[in-house]
Symmetry: D3
Subunit: 172 residues, 6 copies
């Protein structure tokens, strides 16, 4: 059986890991859709799809999930009426969607697909937006992100990138 | 003579009805452009163009305007410099535009078209955004919407859709 | 019951009339999708969506189908994997698709929708491409098109438009 | 040597002039990219690319920079990962980029291009957003904009356009 | 008075020069729209908009037209119903269009603009498509192109680029 | 070291296998870009990106390349001037491009990247277009495609899909 899990992974954090782990307990494989694939170098989406592919691959490697995690970058369409078929046209056949997002759940269920909830995560810290805020303000963030992903972010100089995006001062 | 009236109809409410009625007193037919046709399942635009077509058709039917109201869904271009010609390429020939929106008025007048104001409506309640807020918060909303449209919204489970969009909790 | 029929109507001809007529024998209403809505002033698609709306409306009027034919312009997406949902997001709810096009049939059937064939038409003459060729070369074409549509095409100076598109001589 | 300077010029103001002047002290020519070229008639971008071309041309004329300033309108792509090549595909070959924007600087430097800072400008008044606010509220704004551009804005009735955009009262 | 002339300039050749020259006899300035601005590295459109800007600038320089020729790259929209306003939104205000293309002529005239013909050019040789064919096959082509443009094409290694596009051998 | 190989895989055939095999002799991993990712259900591109993902995954599985082949669907932009950065934004960091296509080679080399040729393949039979022709005409095709991919195509009823696309008889 193959599951589907959709995220933006800006960056991939321990909350995502818990969801992947839980899904892989039930599924043979998990397709990990890297959403908003064409957005990058913005405050909300600093990393490119390719960099996020690397994050997913690093984690798969670390945890020996190489044959079981299938990352697929998918761009936004900003049209929810065709969004399910857009996603499905990009991925190998799947059996179940894992999501707690009420809109995602409704849209997939409306197409007759099976949807399952994901483990509840404490969003206080395990949230992309919080981790990016910590990166910008200089607070601790590395404990919320897998070690291999921390390494990648350092290699890409991700924190300084995020700060130059944040402070870009358009002023127009 | 044929008039043009542009709205988003999220949902169609009694304010729209007053405008249509006033325009039909002067015109043989009224083209009703259903704007932002490709946006749906968002907080601001929960209903699809097709669902909004059904709302307009239900009202036309109810009021015996079938031969006189011509609904046409038109997507946004987000480019005002070509917007008038975009709209005009989608609709049968028209003589007059009905609008109180100052930008719409200027853009159509700049093309040499005749523009007329619409009856003033009390926006406290007769506004899409207020009606959607009422739907979300559980306040009364049905008195602001024609009965046939209330019926359609119930059939589509529109209120629960709007709530699952509102509470989607992206948290990323 | 409501049917769906998709065409480009460049221009609307007697073949389309036969199909509409046959469908209306079985259905209460027929949604007539005016495809490639954003293409016009080309050799293959000389008329705008709005002009084609007028053609459908003229025919509905002539034949007393005003309450039963619902024209809806829909632009091309050029992405068949999401095309069915694209079309469905634009139209009021439908029960059956009328089409002889093998790809249209497969795509809608793959979504679990009921698809019916349309009456066979002699394509030698009742084909948009043939009628446009006749317009360009100066051959007879009016016998293949409803009288009201002939009138509209004359009003729009459609034949001379088609010729100026055809002979545009880019030469670059 | 040819420099590159990117702005939105909504409207062109004395801050832009200082930057152009400083760059022309070092460069033979300066390519002036008119960004967000396809956006107009919005609160943030009231003027069309063509109108902004006229502003740049008026200033070039006034200051005898006709052979040295090369205005080029370039639309937004909203994809920073390909943005540098997008801009470069639109302009004649350049040697140096002038920018204080930290994101622009990083993106061009990542492509191995030379980037220089521009003179610091007092953003309290010399900022497009502040000038547009002054136009809307009826405060003084003409002292911040070159005389020839003031003339153009008056000819286009720019202030009243901006106000009709601002007060458009969508209310949906 | 300001004229408008639209071309693709793949490459700029002596036929374009004749048209510019004739227009400049009647006009103070000529806006030269570089069409299909976003297409490049194809057989029909080998050069980028920026490279074609350079061709126009080189010719202006050579002929002392610097203050009178205003090149503006404009991308295709592939929607003729909004095309005139698209072009007009990109350029400074113009008085007259110069064109022999029957479609361009009709579209601008339909907007109430004045359109003038251009000098007839012998298309046997003075045509972009013929010059590109000569480049590919190794025939003489330099006599049909201004010397300064020949120089630019050599600098860009334009002929070998065109051949690698032509022979790309996709074979899929 | 990581290589990059770009194909459309309509369908994946033995020619692709030879290239992957050769590249994997030199590289640790090979990123396999599934091009034209958003095109499907056309004569030239019958299979969706997701179906082509399955083909690549089936082959990786069969040949024990699971940790070494990284398939990534990437849509067309139809803008060669930004195409390299578009592709690179989608994939994990790569060291070398494998391609015999002269345009691809030039574009990547112009960005300073290393490009290597791929083994020469007899295009008489090992070509997507030839295999699709054979599928349509009923000739033998299975000997040119890996067994696991034949199995997938049969499961998807790919041949009958291709025929219904081919014979769609638009006739408009």
């Amino acid at each position: 059986m193959r599951g589907l899990f959709i995220g933006r992974f800006q960056p991939l954090h321990n909350g995502h890991i818990s969801i992947m782990k839980a899904a892989l307990e039930e599924m043979d494989q998990l397709v990990v859709v890297i959403g908003s694939a064409e957005t990058s170098f913005t405050e909300k989406d600093p990393f490119t799809a390719g960099e996020r592919m690397e994050m997913v691959m690093a984690v798969s490697n670390e945890r020996d999930w190489n044959d079981r995690i299938i990352p697929v970058p998918v761009r936004d369409l900003n049209r929810y009426s065709v969004w399910v078929d857009h996603v499905l046209s990009y991925v190998p056949k799947i059996d179940i969607i894992y999501s707690n997002n009420s809109l995602t759940r409704s849209l997939f269920m409306a197409k007759g697909m099976e949807v399952k909830g994901t483990p509840l995560i404490d969003r206080t810290d395990l949230s992309g937006v919080r981790i990016r805020e910590r990166m910008i303000s200089g607070e601790q963030w590395k404990m919320f992100v897998p070690a291999s992903v921390v390494g990648l972010i350092e290699e890409m100089e991700g924190v300084s990138r995020l700060r130059s995006i944040f402070g870009k001062g358009d002023g127009t």
